[in-house]
């Protein structure tokens, strides 16, 4: 009975959030409208990372690779094929991220914990150096700029993106991704991932092929991160090596911790919280906003490791 009740409560909450996000572009001024769209994109990235960090317990600093490859992949599609095609961009971006994910997945099965985290960190830096120095292909430090593709259903119709339709498109993709990921995590598959997080040797002893689950988790995580990258490219129309720098991964980890690992929604909330905090704090501290924000983050790691959402969950359960 409690399950039924919290389920309706959950879906009502979900509907409310969704509705408010849908009307957002209509009521908010330009800057905040873009801001909300960005929160959604970063939220998607954080959600994808949650699969690895929160559900499977593998901390990865390498999400910037998937994200960055999603951006550059989309850039490649949008620059090479005229007229720029949205679906081609998606295809290229996801493929690029997917290939990287296969690479990382291989290592995920052989390394545990810290070694995995360090390796993913090193990966991000390898890709960063490659993208930074391969100026001919990637534009090096200056990055690439490209035109925004049309929102099109092939064969049917095509229209330019307006800020509103772009926002709704992103919202649609993110919501679909969320529902899809939720389906995954609440399935037996998701349960096994959590089992791996809690006690890997035991999960293996019970008979689950831990390696296979890890590989799937990494692939899933990588693909959705790449998706976030494609969305980012479409929204901002440019690609730069900064996005492959491991600091992006670091921020994603921050979103996860702040919002609550292992909750899917948590990281989105964490992304929103961090970005809002950054906006607000940088009004007073300009570029030193990371000092208070960093302190808050460290304090949260120590005192509130279950994140905002975990904390709220506990409060609400009393």
């Amino acid at each position: 009975m409690t399950a039924r009740r919290s389920s309706t409560a959950y879906w009502t909450g979900f509907a409310v959030v969704l509705a408010s996000l849908t009307i957002a572009p209509l009521v908010l001024p330009e800057f905040w409208r873009r801001f909300v769209t960005e929160i959604l994109i970063w939220g998607l990235l954080a959600m994808s990372s949650d699969i690895l960090i929160g559900y499977t317990g593998m901390v990865s600093f390498g999400h910037s690779v998937f994200f960055g490859l999603g951006i550059y992949g989309a850039a490649a599609a949008l620059l090479s094929v005229k007229p720029p095609n949205l679906w081609l961009a998606l295809l290229y971006g996801l493929t690029a991220a997917g290939l990287a994910a296969v690479f990382v997945a291989y290592f995920s099965t052989r390394l545990r914990d810290i070694y995995f985290a360090i390796t993913t960190l090193v990966f991000s830096q390898i890709f960063y150096v490659i993208i930074f120095t391969w100026t001919a292909v990637t534009g090096g430090e200056n990055g690439l700029t490209f035109a925004q593709p049309l929102l099109s259903l092939p064969g049917l119709w095509a229209a330019r993106f307006t800020p509103e339709t772009l926002h709704w498109f992103v919202l649609g993709v993110v919501t679909l991704s969320y529902l899809l990921l939720r389906r995954f995590t609440q399935s037996p598959f998701g349960m096994v991932l959590q089992a791996i997080r809690e006690n890997e040797p035991r999960t293996r002893a019970i008979g689950y092929a831990v390696e296979r689950y890890k590989i799937v988790a990494v692939m899933l995580s990588g693909l959705f991160a790449g998706l976030a990258g494609v969305l980012y490219a479409v929204q901002n129309k440019f690609a730069a090596p900064d996005f492959v720098f491991f600091l992006v991964s670091g921020e994603v980890v921050i979103f996860n911790v702040m919002g609550g690992m292992g909750t899917l929604v948590g990281p989105i909330a964490g992304a929103a919280f961090f970005l809002l905090l950054r906006e607000g704090v940088s009004r007073y501290f300009t570029e030193y906003y990371l000092i208070p924000v960093g302190i808050i983050f460290t304090a949260m790691v120590i005192f509130m490791p279950q994140g905002l959402l975990g904390f709220a969950k506990r409060r609400l359960n009393q």
Binding site: Y115, Y288, G294
Partner: protein, 290 residues
């Protein structure tokens, strides 16, 4: 394309010098990990802070040696304070939490340095100017001095660990924390002490590196990344391993920079890391449990 032999020799010397500085940083890191399971993401930033402290000291007193001493003492104390406040509550939690916590600290420290000292690089005057003839180059004495000093510091530390009373405490705690505690060794203080020593060593490398590359607020990242690689390749907690790995990686990078640009030469260390992880995941010197 033949590379002139003396260029190779010069790069060997360069590699050795860089390797020693890196070893100084990495030994602190590997010890901190070996004794309290803390992967200190902020270690490179301790190097950076040491460099700045040194730069400030030298600006006021003009003495390099005073700067070195000041940096070591100040940062060691700072490290102790940091460990006591932020890392002690985390003892016993999984190591990933410490990575996150130290990552947060790293961000704060970097921006603090930016705020305090500005974005432009500080220079530290080397105490020993003058060069000697190394083949066709005039090779600065100072570089050799840094290698010698680093070796001396590490050597001194090793002797301390082997024979000093507190050194034995440290080794005991590293081997078996609970047993050491049962024997009456104040384990939390040993932890703080080791962190302080690691921080001090990092600060020393910051000052030593100062005249070579300048001191900027984001120099820490490079050191942290390299030190991580060294610690993994050499084996976490293995002092000798990390020294060997530092020299190996620095030598390889030095040779690589004869062929590709220095920016790309760093990939060498990454490749070494990946190869090590593929074949000897616990490090070159720690036998991989089957």
């Amino acid at each position: 394309m033949a590379i002139p032999f003396d260029q190779i020799l010069i790069q060997t010397v360069n590699g050795l010098v860089n390797g020693m500085i890196l070893a100084l940083v990495a030994s602190g890191l590997t010890l901190i990990f070996g004794i309290m399971d803390v992967v200190n993401f902020a270690h490179g930033d301790l190097v950076m802070l040491g460099g700045f402290t040194g730069a400030v000291t030298i600006a006021t007193t003009g003495s390099f040696w005073l700067a070195l001493l000041a940096a070591v003492l100040v940062i060691a104390a700072f490290g102790a304070a940091l460990q006591a406040t932020t890392l002690r509550p985390l003892l016993g939690r999984d190591p990933l939490t410490t990575i996150l916590a130290t990552f947060g600290m790293s961000l704060v420290l970097q921006k603090y340095a930016l705020w305090q000292w500005g974005p432009s690089a500080r220079r530290i005057q080397e105490p020993l100017t003058g060069q000697f003839q190394l083949f066709y180059l005039q090779y600065p004495w100072y570089r050799v001095l840094t290698a010698v000093l680093s070796a001396a510091i590490i050597g001194g530390f090793w002797l301390f660990l082997r024979y000093g009373k507190y050194g034995i405490w440290i080794r005991a705690t590293m081997q078996d924390r609970i047993m050491a505690s049962a024997m009456g060794i104040p384990v939390p203080w040993v932890h703080t002490g080791v962190f302080a020593i690691g921080a001090g060593m990092a600060a020393a490398s910051g000052v030593l590196f100062g005249p070579l590359g300048g001191v900027t607020q984001n120099m820490g990242l490079d050191f942290t990344l390299r030190a991580f690689i060294v610690v993994v390749v050499g084996g976490m907690g293995n002092l000798g391993g990390s020294i060997f790995a530092s020299i190996l990686i620095s030598l390889l990078e030095a040779y690589a920079s004869l062929i590709v640009s220095p920016a790309q030469a760093v990939i060498v260390s990454f490749v070494v890391l990946i190869l090590t992880l593929l074949f000897r995941p616990t490090g070159l010197f720690v036998p991989t449990p089957k």
